[in-house]
Symmetry: C2
DNA sequence: ACATATAGCGAAAGCTCCTTGCGCGTTTGA
DNA sequence: TCAAACGCGCAAGGAGCTTTCGCTATATGT
């Protein structure tokens, strides 16, 4: 089951305007309301669309600072990884966690109010993560751009 | 102008369910529809809520691979940075671009179908970026978790 | 060629939801 | 202490939307 051009247009629009009405979406992709509705429904049911969310402004919410944290664990045993992942997933300031190939084992994307606040997060959460051998934090000076829209 | 507890509850809900109706949201945060509506409107107008979007499944869309690319430029002059940022912002496979403190100048988050596809992106786009002195790509083996929800 | 499945359009019913206005209580600040 | 500002709940109108149904056309495959 794959996507035709119309499906892709629908996804392209929804990736930018998740709250658009079916009526307007139909118009935008040149379909009748009913046909458009069926397609969107299918895209949701089949898992192409995972969620509809509101994106907030990090500055307004006082977390303008992004920090990438590279972490090396002390071992590669499954229990070590599991424990680490479980613990890290409970930290609300960590937005992403990726298991990496190469030097570092994990990369985290963390948001903070400022460097002091990151120090708090570090002390309070990161420093307490289990199985960590090494940790290196890199601060972003400025986010040039950021999108949730995948290429479709 | 700041946020009280109710505003935060509203934002918390909308960060997870961006398409919830005002009626249901009002119920969830224990407000009348009118009061809730007024608050959401204000949060949008004041820029706390930037956008409503649909989040798609990277696997379903055939971009299951995330790559972090660290880039060092050949110089720090404004024109070099501007030219680089302008060029990189036109690559649809690049979802994020951060100007960094420390060793590397920039970190990009790139999505690809697989390593071969990343090779194409590299050859076709990344290798052609202006002012690049050095580039190091790190592949994610697995995304442990990922959220767009800021801590509020 | 024919049956089946797929996907489209149009229309309409019904309903939910947005939006607004008003009066009330509480807080703010002069 | 009193007036103004702010925020809430209630109620209701009316718009706009979702969702379904029947019919048609095109593609699939036997």
């Amino acid at each position: 089951m794959s996507l035709d051009q119309t499906d892709r247009r629908i996804l392209t629009v929804l990736q930018k305007q998740g709250r658009i009405s079916n009526a307007e979406l139909a118009e935008r992709v040149n379909l009748s309301q009913s046909a458009c509705h069926r397609r969107v429904h299918r895209l949701e049911k089949d898992g192409y669309i995972k969620d509809y969310v509101a994106l907030l402004d990090p500055r307004k919410l006082n977390v303008p600072t992004t920090v990438f944290v590279e972490i090396t664990l002390s071992g590669q045993a499954d229990e070590v990884l599991d424990a680490f992942e479980k613990a890290v997933s409970r930290i609300p300031d960590v937005l992403e966690c990726h298991l990496m190939a190469g030097t570092a084992d994990y990369i985290l994307k963390v948001v903070a109010e400022n460097t002091d606040d990151f120090a708090r997060i570090h002390r309070q959460h990161l420093a307490r993560l289990p199985g960590v051998a090494q940790m290196q934090s890199s601060f972003a000076l400025r986010t040039v751009f950021k999108t949730t829209a995948l290429p479709v």
